[in-house]
Amino acid sequence: MTDKAAAVRFDPVRARQDFPIFRQPIYGKRLVYLDTAASAQKPRQVIEAIKHCYEAEYANVHRGVYYLSQRASENFEAARETVRSFINAREGREIIFVRGATEAINLVAQTWGRANLTPGDEVLISHIEHHSNIVPWQMLRDQIGCVLRVAPVDDDGALILEEFERLLGPRTRLVAITHMSNALGTITPIAEIIRLAQARGIPVLVDGCQAAPHMDVDVQALGCDFYVFSGHKLYGPSGIGVLYGKAALLEAMPPYQGGGEMIASVTFDKTTFAPIPHKFEAGTPHISGAVGLGAAIDYLRGLDLAAMREHELALMRYASKRLGELNSVRLFGTAADKGAIVSFDVTGIHPHDVGTIIDREGVAVRAGHHCAQPVMDRFNVAATVRASFGLYNTFEDVDALIQGVRRAQEVFAG
Protein backbone atom coordinates (compact mmCIF):
# COMPACT_ATOMS: atom_id res chain seq x y z
CA MET A 1 0.00 0.00 0.00
CA THR A 2 1.29 3.50 -0.74
CA ASP A 3 1.74 6.05 2.03
CA LYS A 4 -1.03 8.17 0.50
CA ALA A 5 -3.55 5.35 0.56
CA ALA A 6 -2.87 4.70 4.25
CA ALA A 7 -3.39 8.37 4.97
CA VAL A 8 -6.84 8.15 3.45
CA ARG A 9 -7.92 5.38 5.80
CA PHE A 10 -6.16 6.72 8.88
CA ASP A 11 -6.31 10.38 9.79
CA PRO A 12 -3.66 11.27 12.40
CA VAL A 13 -4.89 14.86 12.65
CA ARG A 14 -8.27 13.61 13.74
CA ALA A 15 -6.75 11.02 16.08
CA ARG A 16 -4.58 13.76 17.56
CA GLN A 17 -7.71 15.56 18.70
CA ASP A 18 -8.45 12.65 20.99
CA PHE A 19 -5.32 13.52 23.00
CA PRO A 20 -5.90 16.48 25.35
CA ILE A 21 -2.18 17.05 25.87
CA PHE A 22 -1.83 18.45 22.38
CA ARG A 23 -4.10 21.37 23.25
CA GLN A 24 -1.30 23.10 25.10
CA PRO A 25 1.54 24.84 23.34
CA ILE A 26 5.09 24.18 24.55
CA TYR A 27 7.28 27.31 24.69
CA GLY A 28 4.50 28.93 22.69
CA LYS A 29 4.84 26.38 19.90
CA ARG A 30 2.80 23.44 18.70
CA LEU A 31 3.80 20.34 20.68
CA VAL A 32 5.65 17.84 18.54
CA TYR A 33 5.84 14.72 20.66
CA LEU A 34 8.40 12.28 19.32
CA ASP A 35 9.00 10.18 22.43
CA THR A 36 6.22 7.64 22.23
CA ALA A 37 8.70 4.77 22.57
CA ALA A 38 9.44 6.03 26.10
CA SER A 39 5.80 6.55 26.92
CA ALA A 40 2.75 7.27 24.80
CA GLN A 41 0.34 10.14 25.39
CA LYS A 42 -3.16 9.24 26.54
CA PRO A 43 -6.41 9.64 24.64
CA ARG A 44 -9.40 11.21 26.33
CA GLN A 45 -11.12 7.80 26.26
CA VAL A 46 -8.47 6.37 28.60
CA ILE A 47 -8.47 9.38 30.90
CA GLU A 48 -12.23 9.21 31.13
CA ALA A 49 -12.30 5.50 31.84
CA ILE A 50 -9.93 6.05 34.76
CA LYS A 51 -11.99 8.96 36.01
CA HIS A 52 -15.16 6.91 35.75
CA CYS A 53 -13.50 4.06 37.59
CA TYR A 54 -12.83 6.30 40.59
CA GLU A 55 -15.97 8.37 40.41
CA ALA A 56 -18.54 5.68 39.86
CA GLU A 57 -17.29 2.13 40.17
CA TYR A 58 -14.48 2.02 42.67
CA ALA A 59 -13.90 -0.46 45.46
CA ASN A 60 -11.37 -3.17 46.11
CA VAL A 61 -11.64 -6.19 43.85
CA HIS A 62 -12.43 -9.84 44.54
CA ARG A 63 -13.32 -9.15 48.16
CA GLY A 64 -16.52 -7.38 48.85
CA VAL A 65 -19.98 -8.88 48.57
CA TYR A 66 -21.40 -5.43 47.96
CA TYR A 67 -22.41 -3.85 44.69
CA LEU A 68 -19.39 -1.60 44.09
CA SER A 69 -16.86 -4.31 44.77
CA GLN A 70 -18.65 -6.55 42.32
CA ARG A 71 -18.66 -3.83 39.69
CA ALA A 72 -14.95 -3.13 40.24
CA SER A 73 -14.12 -6.85 40.08
CA GLU A 74 -16.12 -7.24 36.88
CA ASN A 75 -14.39 -4.27 35.29
CA PHE A 76 -10.98 -5.53 36.35
CA GLU A 77 -11.66 -8.97 34.90
CA ALA A 78 -13.18 -7.44 31.78
CA ALA A 79 -9.88 -5.62 31.24
CA ARG A 80 -8.09 -8.95 31.52
CA GLU A 81 -10.39 -10.35 28.84
CA THR A 82 -9.69 -7.31 26.62
CA VAL A 83 -5.96 -7.92 26.94
CA ARG A 84 -6.46 -11.62 26.25
CA SER A 85 -8.26 -11.01 23.02
CA PHE A 86 -5.82 -8.22 22.01
CA ILE A 87 -2.89 -10.64 21.98
CA ASN A 88 -5.10 -13.65 21.22
CA ALA A 89 -4.12 -15.67 24.26
CA ARG A 90 -6.03 -18.91 24.62
CA GLU A 91 -7.33 -18.19 28.13
CA GLY A 92 -7.83 -15.21 30.39
CA ARG A 93 -5.95 -16.88 33.22
CA GLU A 94 -2.81 -16.67 31.09
CA ILE A 95 -2.86 -12.87 31.49
CA ILE A 96 -1.11 -11.67 34.67
CA PHE A 97 -1.39 -8.01 35.58
CA VAL A 98 1.92 -6.59 36.76
CA ARG A 99 3.42 -3.10 37.08
CA GLY A 100 5.03 -3.22 33.66
CA ALA A 101 7.39 -5.13 31.42
CA THR A 102 10.18 -4.73 33.93
CA GLU A 103 8.23 -6.42 36.66
CA ALA A 104 7.05 -9.13 34.27
CA ILE A 105 10.63 -10.06 33.34
CA ASN A 106 11.78 -9.99 36.96
CA LEU A 107 8.84 -12.19 37.85
CA VAL A 108 9.82 -14.81 35.27
CA ALA A 109 13.49 -14.65 36.28
CA GLN A 110 12.75 -15.05 39.97
CA THR A 111 10.08 -17.73 39.71
CA TRP A 112 10.54 -19.75 36.54
CA GLY A 113 14.25 -18.99 36.46
CA ARG A 114 15.00 -19.95 40.03
CA ALA A 115 12.91 -23.09 39.77
CA ASN A 116 14.34 -24.30 36.49
CA LEU A 117 17.94 -23.15 36.09
CA THR A 118 21.01 -24.68 37.64
CA PRO A 119 24.64 -23.48 37.60
CA GLY A 120 26.01 -23.47 34.06
CA ASP A 121 22.58 -23.26 32.42
CA GLU A 122 22.34 -20.51 29.84
CA VAL A 123 19.92 -17.69 29.16
CA LEU A 124 20.26 -16.33 25.63
CA ILE A 125 19.41 -12.68 25.01
CA SER A 126 20.39 -10.31 22.17
CA HIS A 127 22.68 -7.32 21.92
CA ILE A 128 19.75 -4.93 21.47
CA GLU A 129 17.87 -5.59 24.69
CA HIS A 130 16.54 -2.90 26.99
CA HIS A 131 18.26 -2.97 30.40
CA SER A 132 15.09 -4.52 31.82
CA ASN A 133 15.75 -7.64 29.75
CA ILE A 134 19.41 -7.77 30.82
CA VAL A 135 19.64 -6.88 34.49
CA PRO A 136 17.06 -9.38 35.84
CA TRP A 137 19.05 -12.16 34.17
CA GLN A 138 22.32 -10.86 35.57
CA MET A 139 20.77 -10.81 39.03
CA LEU A 140 19.62 -14.38 38.51
CA ARG A 141 23.10 -15.28 37.29
CA ASP A 142 24.61 -13.88 40.48
CA GLN A 143 22.08 -15.77 42.58
CA ILE A 144 22.29 -19.20 41.00
CA GLY A 145 25.32 -19.24 38.73
CA CYS A 146 23.63 -19.48 35.36
CA VAL A 147 25.29 -17.94 32.30
CA LEU A 148 24.14 -15.04 30.14
CA ARG A 149 24.80 -15.36 26.40
CA VAL A 150 24.32 -12.55 23.90
CA ALA A 151 23.36 -12.94 20.25
CA PRO A 152 25.03 -10.27 18.12
CA VAL A 153 23.56 -7.80 15.64
CA ASP A 154 25.06 -6.57 12.38
CA ASP A 155 26.01 -3.00 11.50
CA ASP A 156 22.41 -2.24 10.59
CA GLY A 157 21.33 -3.36 14.04
CA ALA A 158 19.64 -6.50 12.69
CA LEU A 159 19.91 -9.74 14.64
CA ILE A 160 22.31 -12.17 12.97
CA LEU A 161 20.09 -15.22 12.90
CA GLU A 162 22.85 -17.73 12.10
CA GLU A 163 24.81 -16.52 15.13
CA PHE A 164 21.70 -16.73 17.23
CA GLU A 165 21.16 -20.29 16.10
CA ARG A 166 24.78 -21.18 16.81
CA LEU A 167 24.36 -19.92 20.38
CA LEU A 168 21.44 -22.25 21.02
CA GLY A 169 23.44 -24.93 22.79
CA PRO A 170 22.88 -27.96 24.98
CA ARG A 171 22.82 -25.75 28.10
CA THR A 172 20.47 -23.07 26.75
CA ARG A 173 17.39 -23.10 28.99
CA LEU A 174 15.66 -19.90 27.95
CA VAL A 175 15.67 -17.36 25.14
CA ALA A 176 14.65 -13.87 26.31
CA ILE A 177 14.52 -11.48 23.41
CA THR A 178 12.93 -8.29 22.22
CA HIS A 179 10.30 -8.21 19.51
CA MET A 180 11.28 -4.66 18.59
CA SER A 181 14.27 -2.67 19.83
CA ASN A 182 13.48 0.56 21.65
CA ALA A 183 16.89 2.07 20.85
CA LEU A 184 17.07 1.30 17.13
CA GLY A 185 13.63 0.19 16.04
CA THR A 186 14.89 -3.17 14.77
CA ILE A 187 12.18 -5.79 14.51
CA THR A 188 13.57 -9.23 15.26
CA PRO A 189 12.56 -12.31 13.22
CA ILE A 190 10.59 -13.46 16.22
CA ALA A 191 8.64 -16.29 14.58
CA GLU A 192 11.87 -17.83 13.31
CA ILE A 193 13.58 -17.32 16.68
CA ILE A 194 10.75 -19.10 18.46
CA ARG A 195 10.75 -21.93 15.92
CA LEU A 196 14.52 -22.45 16.26
CA ALA A 197 14.43 -22.40 20.05
CA GLN A 198 11.38 -24.57 20.52
CA ALA A 199 12.71 -27.14 18.05
CA ARG A 200 15.34 -27.69 20.75
CA GLY A 201 12.84 -27.65 23.57
CA ILE A 202 13.87 -24.16 24.74
CA PRO A 203 11.13 -21.81 25.95
CA VAL A 204 11.06 -18.20 24.69
CA LEU A 205 10.20 -14.98 26.51
CA VAL A 206 9.42 -12.08 24.18
CA ASP A 207 9.78 -8.46 25.30
CA GLY A 208 6.91 -6.90 23.42
CA CYS A 209 7.07 -3.40 24.92
CA GLN A 210 7.66 -1.70 21.60
CA ALA A 211 5.92 -4.24 19.41
CA ALA A 212 2.57 -4.29 21.21
CA PRO A 213 1.71 -0.69 20.27
CA HIS A 214 2.88 -0.98 16.67
CA MET A 215 2.44 -4.55 15.44
CA ASP A 216 -0.16 -7.29 15.42
CA VAL A 217 0.62 -9.66 18.25
CA ASP A 218 -0.89 -13.11 18.29
CA VAL A 219 0.74 -15.17 21.03
CA GLN A 220 -0.88 -18.39 19.88
CA ALA A 221 0.35 -17.96 16.32
CA LEU A 222 3.81 -17.04 17.63
CA GLY A 223 3.74 -19.90 20.09
CA CYS A 224 5.96 -18.01 22.53
CA ASP A 225 6.01 -19.15 26.14
CA PHE A 226 6.00 -15.68 27.71
CA TYR A 227 5.14 -12.29 26.23
CA VAL A 228 5.50 -9.06 28.23
CA PHE A 229 4.53 -5.44 27.66
CA SER A 230 3.73 -2.20 29.50
CA GLY A 231 0.43 -0.34 29.44
CA HIS A 232 1.94 3.13 29.28
CA LYS A 233 3.54 2.54 25.88
CA LEU A 234 0.21 1.35 24.54
CA TYR A 235 -1.57 4.67 25.22
CA GLY A 236 -2.69 3.35 28.61
CA PRO A 237 -1.67 4.33 32.14
CA SER A 238 1.70 3.72 33.75
CA GLY A 239 2.02 1.27 36.60
CA ILE A 240 0.17 -1.49 34.76
CA GLY A 241 1.59 -4.08 32.42
CA VAL A 242 1.09 -7.61 31.28
CA LEU A 243 2.83 -10.93 31.62
CA TYR A 244 1.38 -13.49 29.28
CA GLY A 245 2.47 -17.05 29.97
CA LYS A 246 1.26 -20.42 28.76
CA ALA A 247 -1.08 -21.80 31.41
CA ALA A 248 0.93 -24.98 31.99
CA LEU A 249 4.10 -23.00 32.61
CA LEU A 250 2.42 -20.51 34.93
CA GLU A 251 0.77 -23.29 36.88
CA ALA A 252 4.09 -25.04 37.45
CA MET A 253 5.88 -21.86 38.55
CA PRO A 254 6.20 -20.90 42.21
CA PRO A 255 4.55 -17.60 43.18
CA TYR A 256 6.49 -14.32 43.01
CA GLN A 257 5.26 -12.32 45.98
CA GLY A 258 3.17 -13.54 48.85
CA GLY A 259 0.18 -11.79 50.38
CA GLY A 260 -3.52 -11.27 49.95
CA GLU A 261 -5.33 -12.03 46.70
CA MET A 262 -2.88 -14.80 45.82
CA ILE A 263 -4.00 -17.41 48.31
CA ALA A 264 -6.70 -20.05 48.54
CA SER A 265 -6.31 -20.57 52.27
CA VAL A 266 -3.85 -19.60 54.96
CA THR A 267 -3.06 -21.10 58.33
CA PHE A 268 0.15 -20.52 60.24
CA ASP A 269 1.34 -23.95 59.13
CA LYS A 270 0.52 -23.84 55.50
CA THR A 271 -0.76 -21.68 52.68
CA THR A 272 -2.46 -22.97 49.59
CA PHE A 273 -1.98 -20.67 46.65
CA ALA A 274 -4.78 -19.47 44.47
CA PRO A 275 -4.93 -20.74 40.90
CA ILE A 276 -3.48 -18.58 38.12
CA PRO A 277 -3.69 -15.70 37.36
CA HIS A 278 -4.31 -14.72 41.00
CA LYS A 279 -1.33 -16.71 42.25
CA PHE A 280 0.88 -14.03 40.69
CA GLU A 281 -1.19 -11.02 41.69
CA ALA A 282 -0.44 -10.61 45.38
CA GLY A 283 -1.93 -7.59 47.06
CA THR A 284 -4.45 -5.06 45.85
CA PRO A 285 -3.77 -4.60 42.15
CA HIS A 286 -3.67 -1.40 40.10
CA ILE A 287 -7.41 -1.45 39.53
CA SER A 288 -7.80 1.80 37.62
CA GLY A 289 -4.65 0.93 35.70
CA ALA A 290 -6.13 -2.28 34.39
CA VAL A 291 -9.34 -0.47 33.51
CA GLY A 292 -7.34 2.23 31.73
CA LEU A 293 -5.34 -0.34 29.81
CA GLY A 294 -8.54 -2.03 28.72
CA ALA A 295 -9.83 1.35 27.55
CA ALA A 296 -6.62 1.99 25.62
CA ILE A 297 -6.96 -1.30 23.78
CA ASP A 298 -10.62 -0.57 23.04
CA TYR A 299 -9.56 2.83 21.71
CA LEU A 300 -6.93 1.31 19.43
CA ARG A 301 -9.37 -1.25 18.15
CA GLY A 302 -11.72 1.51 17.16
CA LEU A 303 -9.09 2.72 14.70
CA ASP A 304 -8.04 1.12 11.46
CA LEU A 305 -4.98 -0.54 12.95
CA ALA A 306 -3.45 -1.69 9.69
CA ALA A 307 -3.68 1.80 8.21
CA MET A 308 -2.39 3.34 11.45
CA ARG A 309 0.67 1.10 11.37
CA GLU A 310 1.27 1.90 7.74
CA HIS A 311 1.11 5.59 8.62
CA GLU A 312 3.64 5.22 11.46
CA LEU A 313 6.03 3.38 9.15
CA ALA A 314 5.60 6.04 6.49
CA LEU A 315 6.62 8.66 9.08
CA MET A 316 9.69 6.62 10.00
CA ARG A 317 10.72 6.27 6.36
CA TYR A 318 10.14 9.95 5.69
CA ALA A 319 12.16 10.94 8.78
CA SER A 320 15.02 8.60 7.81
CA LYS A 321 15.08 10.06 4.33
CA ARG A 322 14.99 13.69 5.47
CA LEU A 323 17.62 13.14 8.18
CA GLY A 324 19.78 11.26 5.69
CA GLU A 325 19.73 14.32 3.45
CA LEU A 326 21.16 16.56 6.18
CA ASN A 327 24.90 17.06 6.45
CA SER A 328 26.70 15.31 9.28
CA VAL A 329 23.77 13.20 10.44
CA ARG A 330 24.37 9.50 11.06
CA LEU A 331 21.48 7.08 11.39
CA PHE A 332 21.72 4.07 13.70
CA GLY A 333 19.46 1.10 13.16
CA THR A 334 18.94 0.70 9.46
CA ALA A 335 17.68 -2.88 9.44
CA ALA A 336 15.32 -3.75 6.61
CA ASP A 337 12.64 -4.72 9.11
CA LYS A 338 12.14 -1.92 11.58
CA GLY A 339 9.40 -0.04 13.36
CA ALA A 340 8.57 3.63 13.84
CA ILE A 341 11.80 4.71 15.55
CA VAL A 342 14.77 6.67 14.20
CA SER A 343 18.00 6.95 16.15
CA PHE A 344 20.72 9.32 15.00
CA ASP A 345 23.50 11.66 15.96
CA VAL A 346 24.83 14.90 14.54
CA THR A 347 28.58 15.16 14.10
CA GLY A 348 30.12 17.60 16.54
CA ILE A 349 26.97 18.08 18.61
CA HIS A 350 26.28 15.92 21.62
CA PRO A 351 22.78 14.36 21.59
CA HIS A 352 21.86 16.23 24.77
CA ASP A 353 22.67 19.53 23.17
CA VAL A 354 20.58 18.56 20.15
CA GLY A 355 17.77 17.55 22.52
CA THR A 356 17.87 20.82 24.46
CA ILE A 357 17.94 22.97 21.35
CA ILE A 358 15.09 21.24 19.58
CA ASP A 359 13.07 21.13 22.78
CA ARG A 360 12.94 24.94 22.53
CA GLU A 361 11.32 24.46 19.15
CA GLY A 362 8.57 22.46 20.86
CA VAL A 363 9.96 19.13 19.68
CA ALA A 364 10.26 16.42 22.36
CA VAL A 365 12.80 13.72 21.57
CA ARG A 366 14.84 11.41 23.73
CA ALA A 367 18.59 11.96 23.94
CA GLY A 368 20.65 9.39 25.77
CA HIS A 369 21.39 5.71 25.85
CA HIS A 370 17.70 4.73 25.92
CA CYS A 371 18.29 2.20 28.70
CA ALA A 372 20.24 0.13 26.19
CA GLN A 373 23.88 0.89 26.87
CA PRO A 374 25.14 -2.27 25.14
CA VAL A 375 23.52 -1.02 21.94
CA MET A 376 25.38 2.28 22.29
CA ASP A 377 28.63 0.39 22.85
CA ARG A 378 27.96 -1.73 19.78
CA PHE A 379 27.84 1.43 17.68
CA ASN A 380 30.60 3.20 19.60
CA VAL A 381 28.53 6.12 20.79
CA ALA A 382 27.65 7.30 24.29
CA ALA A 383 24.20 8.41 23.30
CA THR A 384 21.92 9.06 20.35
CA VAL A 385 18.95 11.25 19.60
CA ARG A 386 15.82 9.17 19.17
CA ALA A 387 12.60 10.20 17.53
CA SER A 388 9.80 7.69 17.93
CA PHE A 389 6.37 7.95 16.38
CA GLY A 390 2.88 7.30 17.58
CA LEU A 391 -0.54 7.40 16.04
CA TYR A 392 -0.89 11.16 16.60
CA ASN A 393 2.23 12.17 14.66
CA THR A 394 2.12 13.78 11.27
CA PHE A 395 4.52 14.54 8.43
CA GLU A 396 4.52 18.10 9.73
CA ASP A 397 6.03 16.74 12.97
CA VAL A 398 8.89 15.23 11.01
CA ASP A 399 9.44 18.57 9.27
CA ALA A 400 9.64 20.23 12.70
CA LEU A 401 12.23 17.68 13.77
CA ILE A 402 14.34 18.41 10.70
CA GLN A 403 13.97 22.13 11.32
CA GLY A 404 15.11 21.60 14.90
CA VAL A 405 18.20 19.66 13.88
CA ARG A 406 19.06 22.42 11.41
CA ARG A 407 18.64 24.94 14.21
CA ALA A 408 21.06 22.96 16.40
CA GLN A 409 23.57 22.97 13.57
CA GLU A 410 23.16 26.72 13.18
CA VAL A 411 23.66 27.37 16.89
CA PHE A 412 26.76 25.22 16.95
CA ALA A 413 28.13 26.78 13.81
CA GLY A 414 28.34 29.90 16.02
Binding site: I349, H350, H352, D353, G368, Q373, A382, V411, F412, G414
Partner: protein, 151 residues
Protein backbone atom coordinates in the same frame (compact mmCIF):
# COMPACT_ATOMS: atom_id res chain seq x y z
CA UNK B 1 11.79 33.21 27.48
CA UNK B 2 15.51 32.90 27.07
CA UNK B 3 17.04 32.53 23.69
CA UNK B 4 18.82 29.25 23.21
CA UNK B 5 21.98 31.23 22.51
CA UNK B 6 22.00 32.45 26.11
CA UNK B 7 22.79 28.87 26.98
CA UNK B 8 25.08 28.16 24.08
CA UNK B 9 27.14 31.31 24.24
CA UNK B 10 30.16 31.64 22.02
CA UNK B 11 32.55 31.11 24.95
CA UNK B 12 30.86 27.81 25.77
CA UNK B 13 30.94 26.62 22.19
CA UNK B 14 34.57 27.64 21.92
CA UNK B 15 35.58 25.79 25.09
CA UNK B 16 33.63 22.72 24.06
CA UNK B 17 35.18 22.66 20.61
CA UNK B 18 38.69 23.36 21.85
CA UNK B 19 38.80 22.34 25.48
CA UNK B 20 41.73 23.84 27.39
CA UNK B 21 43.86 21.67 29.68
CA UNK B 22 42.57 18.53 28.05
CA UNK B 23 44.53 15.34 28.64
CA UNK B 24 46.13 13.38 31.42
CA UNK B 25 48.36 15.06 33.96
CA UNK B 26 51.27 12.69 34.49
CA UNK B 27 52.37 14.10 37.85
CA UNK B 28 48.93 14.61 39.33
CA UNK B 29 48.77 13.93 43.06
CA UNK B 30 45.03 14.35 43.39
CA UNK B 31 42.46 13.01 40.97
CA UNK B 32 38.91 11.72 40.68
CA UNK B 33 36.46 10.44 38.18
CA UNK B 34 32.87 11.45 37.72
CA UNK B 35 30.00 10.47 35.52
CA UNK B 36 26.50 11.50 34.80
CA UNK B 37 24.64 8.27 34.15
CA UNK B 38 21.69 10.01 32.57
CA UNK B 39 23.74 11.53 29.76
CA UNK B 40 26.77 9.28 29.70
CA UNK B 41 28.95 12.34 30.38
CA UNK B 42 32.26 11.27 31.87
CA UNK B 43 35.11 13.33 33.27
CA UNK B 44 38.41 12.67 34.98
CA UNK B 45 39.96 15.56 36.89
CA UNK B 46 43.70 15.70 37.55
CA UNK B 47 45.19 18.14 40.04
CA UNK B 48 48.74 18.85 41.12
CA UNK B 49 48.77 20.32 44.60
CA UNK B 50 51.88 21.78 46.18
CA UNK B 51 51.60 23.04 49.71
CA UNK B 52 48.13 24.51 49.86
CA UNK B 53 48.00 25.56 46.22
CA UNK B 54 46.77 24.00 42.99
CA UNK B 55 49.70 24.30 40.63
CA UNK B 56 48.21 22.40 37.71
CA UNK B 57 44.74 21.21 36.66
CA UNK B 58 43.78 19.13 33.67
CA UNK B 59 40.90 16.91 32.62
CA UNK B 60 39.88 14.14 30.29
CA UNK B 61 36.40 13.10 29.35
CA UNK B 62 33.58 13.13 26.92
CA UNK B 63 30.17 14.63 27.04
CA UNK B 64 27.91 17.43 25.97
CA UNK B 65 29.05 20.96 25.21
CA UNK B 66 28.00 22.19 28.64
CA UNK B 67 29.94 19.59 30.59
CA UNK B 68 33.07 19.92 28.47
CA UNK B 69 33.05 23.71 28.53
CA UNK B 70 32.50 23.71 32.27
CA UNK B 71 35.48 21.40 32.85
CA UNK B 72 37.62 23.46 30.51
CA UNK B 73 36.73 26.76 32.20
CA UNK B 74 37.15 25.28 35.65
CA UNK B 75 40.62 23.88 35.05
CA UNK B 76 41.63 27.25 33.62
CA UNK B 77 40.52 29.01 36.77
CA UNK B 78 41.93 26.60 39.33
CA UNK B 79 45.57 26.96 38.45
CA UNK B 80 47.38 28.97 41.12
CA UNK B 81 44.52 29.11 43.60
CA UNK B 82 44.91 28.29 47.28
CA UNK B 83 42.73 25.42 48.48
CA UNK B 84 40.38 27.62 50.48
CA UNK B 85 39.98 29.84 47.43
CA UNK B 86 39.06 26.73 45.44
CA UNK B 87 36.40 25.92 47.99
CA UNK B 88 35.00 29.42 47.87
CA UNK B 89 35.01 29.33 44.09
CA UNK B 90 33.11 26.06 44.15
CA UNK B 91 30.42 27.63 46.33
CA UNK B 92 30.26 30.62 44.05
CA UNK B 93 29.97 28.46 40.96
CA UNK B 94 27.23 26.42 42.55
CA UNK B 95 25.25 29.55 43.27
CA UNK B 96 25.75 30.86 39.75
CA UNK B 97 24.31 27.77 38.09
CA UNK B 98 21.49 27.18 40.54
CA UNK B 99 20.01 30.43 41.83
CA UNK B 100 22.35 33.20 40.85
CA UNK B 101 23.01 34.60 44.31
CA UNK B 102 26.41 34.03 45.80
CA UNK B 103 27.30 34.62 49.41
CA UNK B 104 30.95 34.14 48.65
CA UNK B 105 33.00 37.17 47.82
CA UNK B 106 35.66 36.02 45.39
CA UNK B 107 37.41 39.28 44.58
CA UNK B 108 40.69 37.51 43.95
CA UNK B 109 39.53 36.09 40.66
CA UNK B 110 37.73 37.27 37.52
CA UNK B 111 34.30 35.70 37.80
CA UNK B 112 32.98 36.82 34.44
CA UNK B 113 34.22 33.58 33.02
CA UNK B 114 31.83 31.62 35.22
CA UNK B 115 28.86 33.76 34.40
CA UNK B 116 28.75 32.33 30.89
CA UNK B 117 27.51 29.14 32.52
CA UNK B 118 24.65 30.87 34.31
CA UNK B 119 22.37 30.10 31.34
CA UNK B 120 21.87 26.54 32.59
CA UNK B 121 19.72 27.85 35.41
CA UNK B 122 16.85 27.94 32.94
CA UNK B 123 17.43 24.31 32.00
CA UNK B 124 17.07 22.29 35.21
CA UNK B 125 17.91 18.96 33.61
CA UNK B 126 21.17 20.38 32.26
CA UNK B 127 22.47 21.80 35.54
CA UNK B 128 24.18 18.53 36.39
CA UNK B 129 26.07 18.69 33.10
CA UNK B 130 27.61 21.95 34.28
CA UNK B 131 28.29 20.76 37.80
CA UNK B 132 29.86 17.40 36.97
CA UNK B 133 33.46 18.62 36.65
CA UNK B 134 33.12 20.73 39.78
CA UNK B 135 31.74 17.97 41.96
CA UNK B 136 34.43 15.67 40.66
CA UNK B 137 37.12 18.23 41.49
CA UNK B 138 35.69 18.60 44.98
CA UNK B 139 35.70 14.83 45.42
CA UNK B 140 39.34 14.75 44.29
CA UNK B 141 40.24 17.30 46.95
CA UNK B 142 38.37 15.32 49.56
CA UNK B 143 40.24 12.21 48.54
CA UNK B 144 37.13 10.27 47.57
CA UNK B 145 37.85 7.04 45.77
CA UNK B 146 34.43 6.06 44.48
CA UNK B 147 33.41 7.81 41.26
CA UNK B 148 31.20 10.85 41.60
CA UNK B 149 27.72 10.81 40.15
CA UNK B 150 25.63 13.81 39.44
CA UNK B 151 22.00 12.88 39.50
Amino acid sequence: MMDIRDLYQEVILDHSRRPRNFGRLADANCEAEGDNPLCGDRVHIYLRIEGDRVTEARFEGRGCAISMASASLMTDMLRGLALDEVRALFQHFHAVVTHGESAEACDWIDLDKLNVLSGVREYPVRIKCATLAWHTMKAALEGKRTPVRTE
